[in-house]
Amino acid sequence: MKKLSDIFAAGWVQGAIPPALLVLLIAIVEIGSPGFLTGETLGLLLGNTAVLFILATGVTFVILIGGIDLSIQAVASLASVILAQLLPSIGALAFPVAIGAGLIFGILSGIVHVRLRVPSFVATLATGGVVAGMALWFAQGRAITIEEGGRLSTTWINGTVAGVPVVAILAAIVGIVSFLVLRYTRFGRYSLAVGAGEPAALAAGVNVDRTKIIAFAISGTLAAIAGVILAARLSSGSPSLANQLLLPAIAAVIVGGTAITGGLGGVARTAVGALIISIVRIGMTFIGVNIFAENVVFGAVLIIAVAITIDRSKIPVIK
């Protein structure tokens, strides 16, 4: 047992497992149903992964600093409601408003966490409740259909460019920008430092509070972007639209190999994780696993992935 955990603890093995798993899954799918990963179905796969990936990228930033964001599904739903509600009256301006709302609530989560010193999972559980209540209130508890008039501004999201779905391109842009931010900006380096060891980062003069707030702001913004895309794809906004996405998004981050303890991981790993989750989901539908039972698999996958990737030396007491 000890040997097994030693193998998993080696850095390069942790980095190599997710891509290997992805290749294995693709091979299984390809053998089970030849021609699956060509043309239209590949586009469909990428399109389906896009929203999950954008959500997961946002959470990646928060998990990298050693926190967690449990409010993403609420923020995404709120953004979808705002978009659906405002499209008829202010047209395309509804996009920046919806995404701005995500930014504001992200910053709010960050401030509650940092200034009031509330642990992040409670802080975001609470702001998630605040946001969910507001979404319910704006929508009066109903799903809002985006009418013909409003759909003019959203059709481009559902289109394709040279055979590639626009959503996949959007996700790629989000992914590349996030990757560059993490690797080449001061904030990105600080995030990793804070996640790797907060006291050391603090002693080295890193503005820990600001770094954390920015991470939560990014998470909120990306969650809102995901919510907007989801609303455009489904042509409706609803206060519970994204509720089913919290678990897959966190699972994607962890399965990709980002440690829940922070400081280790990145956007590229999350991309691999999101693809794994997507393929597993499609595979389950394909084998005939009941759609309601998918959550059972994701829950189990999450626990196993956390158990493998977690850095136990960093948490003396496991609470």
């Binding site: 642990p119 409740g129 956390v306 158990a307």
Partner: protein, 346 residues
Amino acid sequence: MTINSETMKPVTNLERTSAMDAVFARFFRGEAARRLRTFAPLIVLVVLCILITIANPNFIELRNLIRIANSAAVPLTLAMGMTFIILMGSIDLSVEGALSIAAMVLVLLATNDANANDYGWLAVVAAIAASTAMGVLNGIIQTVLRIPSFMATLGVWFIGLGISVFMLGGSAIRLMDNSIRSLALERFLGLPLAVWVAAAAFLLAIVIQYHTRLGRHILAIGGGEDVAELSGVNLQRVRITAFGVAGFFFGVAGVLAAAQLGQSNAVIADGRLFAAVTAVVVGGTALTGGEGGVLNTLVGVLIVTVLANGMVLLGISPYVQQTVQGLMIIAAVALSLDRLRLKIVK
């Protein structure tokens, strides 16, 4: 970690002491202030009741008070279980999964409109046992795999929810066993039986916390795990038992919820986690563990329920309720955290 965080303290305090902390420190210092903090939730509850009564005298009517007791039954039972977990300094996010599992087992085994089962009160036992097993599973995952409870229980939350929705086939199944339904429909001394069950759960929780070794050990772990371990507390056994006890309470709550609703469906547990955490935290049990208890939680549940009832009486949209509860969590945690003990907040 090679860096000793003790020596970093001056830096930490310099960096972190905001104006707000200074204000908190002034208000919550000394013995008198400590006592004030202990009784703050109770004062909030009384003031809340007075304010709502002034705004709408209907609040104080016997009929409304019974309504409040009735709607507090399920949250109180849930929050009893949650209190023990938070007292340990952990969190159980699987409340909704455990509750829906219990409700699902109950309706599928008792008389219902989907199959021919008719196990009567055995179904209740099975439901509570299933939920307790989920709790034990939480404890085992946390202690054996050594992962933080919020991650372990996040996974179990969706495992439980997935299983119960799958077993229900995505639809609502009605509970038609009259003796179980009577929990919600029959009254004893004017109060529905569900309220008495919740009161019994509360008494049981009091006994566990104040009169059993388990209760003392839970407090000891929350107060300082390393010290507890050195004092000979079997951490793993206490943690697993505590999660099991929590699962038991969630199971009872699930039975009550199914009896009240007369059915079980995919959304029977929606919002329960939030209500339970709010109640525990608003009651004054510290998230850091080791401080507070089931008496605090009783006050917390009453605050949450009275506020929800008051908002309805005052004609405020019920949709805003979650928003208000969220703000309450933030305020309560911010006020109750023992800041000196927290060097790093994750």
